[in-house]
Structures are given as C-alpha cells and as structure tokens.
C-alpha cells in the first residue's frame, strides 16, 4: 500500500480490494486505496479520518463503520468506487466492532466499550441502523465475516480477558408482529 496504516478496514476480494482509513505514523488518515491484485492506487478521500473502524462490502460499494476518534464514533461512510458519502449514523459508537454483509445489507457486531456495546448487533439497510440479537460473549477488537443474515464473529478481547477464542455464528430470522388490532 502507499500509505502505511494499522487499525484499518478493508473490503472486497483478493484481487479487487479496498483499504480505507486507519492509523498512520502521523495520525489517522482519510485515504483509501484500491488494489487490483498487483498494485495499489489512490481511491477517494473519506470525510472522517479514524482508526479501529470496521469495513464491509466491495471495492466499488464499501461501507466504513464507526472508529475513533472519528467525531462521536457514530460516523458511517459509503464508497461508490470514486467517492465517499455519509451513510446513516450509528445510534452509538462501536469502535473496534466487526462487520459483515454488503453496503446496503450490513451487520455490525461487538465493539468498544465492551461493557456497554460489546455484545450488541446492529442491522443496516443502507439508510438506518436497527438493533439485532445480542452476542453471548461481549467483546471488542474482534473479526468477522459473512453476510447480514449469516455471519461469523471470532476472537477479540472481553472485559475480563485481553484475548478470547470465542466464536459465534449469527443467523438472521424475522417474524411478523402485530402492533395493534382494531
């Protein structure tokens, strides 16, 4: 990559990937870079520089989620292969979370502070975030993969331990509920 970075996020495939934001030796960056399987080239510049963010999607339809300092940590940005625009804000900061799915059907889970958001799951529909079922092991700095309705969470740190081997599998499943009857 052109910009050395850690606590960064990525999306895409092995030969069509995107790396964005993260911590550099001189501070957090707004830079994104696109990979074609051989070389990295500069992508669009993000609005909010941050680290410990999560990413999902593809090189041309990516999603950047939370991160610190990143303002309030609720910032979400969407990439279209050229530029980044604001997405729907998270209801709360989830820096150090993991994500799965696509830009318009995403899942964010875990994150810091572990005691308050580490077990929480959020659905994204391309506009707004809604709460999903909680993980059993609250954790931050974990990894994840999969889709919005079939995700995998693994590793990370819990409130009690700096590392964990815990793995959890998410299965989406909805139900129709009756709000009122006449």
């Amino acid at each position: 990559m052109t910009v050395s970075r850690s606590l960064t996020a990525g999306a895409g495939t092995q030969t069509t990937a995107l790396a964005f934001s993260g911590e550099t030796p001189v501070g957090d960056t707004t830079a994104s870079e696109e990979y074609d399987g051989t070389t990295w080239t500069a992508g669009g510049t993000m609005t909010t520089a941050r680290e410990s963010l999560a990413g999902t999607g593809t090189q041309t339809a990516a999603l950047a989620i939370s991160g610190i300092p990143g303002g309030a940590g609720v910032e979400v940005e969407e990439y279209n292969g050229t530029s980044w625009t604001a997405g729907g804000s998270l209801p709360l900061s989830k820096a150090g979370c993991a994500a799965s799915g696509t830009q318009t059907l995403a899942l964010a889970f875990g994150g810091n502070p572990v005691n308050s958001v580490g077990n929480q799951t959020l659905f994204y529909d391309g506009t707004t975030w809604t709460a999903g079922g909680n993980m059993s092991t609250a954790r931050g700095n974990l990894a994840g993969c999969g889709t919005q309705t079939s995700a995998l969470a693994f590793g990370g740190n819990t409130a009690a331990s700096p590392t964990t081997t815990a793995t959890e599998e998410f299965t989406g499943g909805g139900a129709t509920i009756t709000l009122t009857t006449s």
Binding site: S4, R5, S6, L7, T8, A9, G10, A11, G12, T13, Q14, L18, A19, G22, E23, Y35, G55, A98, F123, D125, T128, T130, A131, G132, G133, N134, S136, N141, L142, A143, C145, G146, S150, L152, A153, F154, G155, N157, S161, P162, T163, T164, T165, A166, T167, E168, E169, F170, T171, G172, G173, G174, A175, T176, I177, T178, L179, T180, T181, S182
Partner: protein, 117 residues
C-alpha cells in the same frame, strides 16, 4: 413532528394479506385481520467452535461456514473455519496485528497492520 412517510419515504401499505417477503422494519395494515403489523428481524447468535489461538486485533475473511482468521496481536497464525471447527492454515510470513482482511477463505488478502510482538 415527523411522520412515518417522512421517515420511510413511503406510506404504510394497506393490504389484504401480509407481504410475502417483508423487509426489516416494514409496517403495513392488514385489512383482513384489521391489524397494524410490522416485520422485525433480530436474528440470534449461537456458539461456534473455538479458535485454537486466542487473539484480538486480527483480520477475518470468507463466510460463516468457510471463514478465515489471520494474524492478531503478536500472531502469525491463520485458522480456517468449516462451520464447526477451526483448523490451522498457512502461517503469515510475519506476525501482523491491527490488520484488515478481505476475500474468501481460499483467496484472502490482509492489508495494513503492525508487526507486533
């Protein structure tokens, strides 16, 4: 005051039978049952097989039944998940933590990070 239409960009559906494929948060009025209904998908987490190497600040790739864990604090370890258990994959050439991942279990990419210790 914001209305449902203001927020969702559409009116509440009025239908005689429930939608076949409702989406998260969708609301409709069923004239047959005379009820206001909604679709809520909260999903559920279940315990999977444990990683062999406990770690944080690692990268992930793949799917729920074909996942990949790579690196993490002070680690060169790669592990592959088959939907039930993790087994060792090819080690990274050097320890890498705070990295990102992309791709599939068999064609993955790790980006950025630190060498760690």
């Amino acid at each position: 005051m914001a209305t449902y239409t203001n927020i969702q960009g559409q009116n509440i559906l009025i239908v005689s039978s429930d939608p076949a494929n409702p989406i998260q948060g969708q609301i409709w009025y069923n004239t047959t049952s005379n009820a206001l209904k909604a679709y809520a998908d909260v999903g559920a987490w279940a315990t999977g097989g444990s990683l062999s190497t406990a770690r944080r600040l690692l990268a992930g790739a793949g799917t729920q039944t074909s996942g990949l864990a790579a690196g993490g604090e002070g680690s060169t370890a790669t592990e592959e998940y088959d939907g039930t258990s993790w087994t060792a994959g090819g080690a990274l050439p050097a320890a890498r933590e705070r990295n990102a991942g992309a791709g599939t279990q068999t064609a993955a990419l790790t980006m950025g990070g630190e060498s760690g210790g």
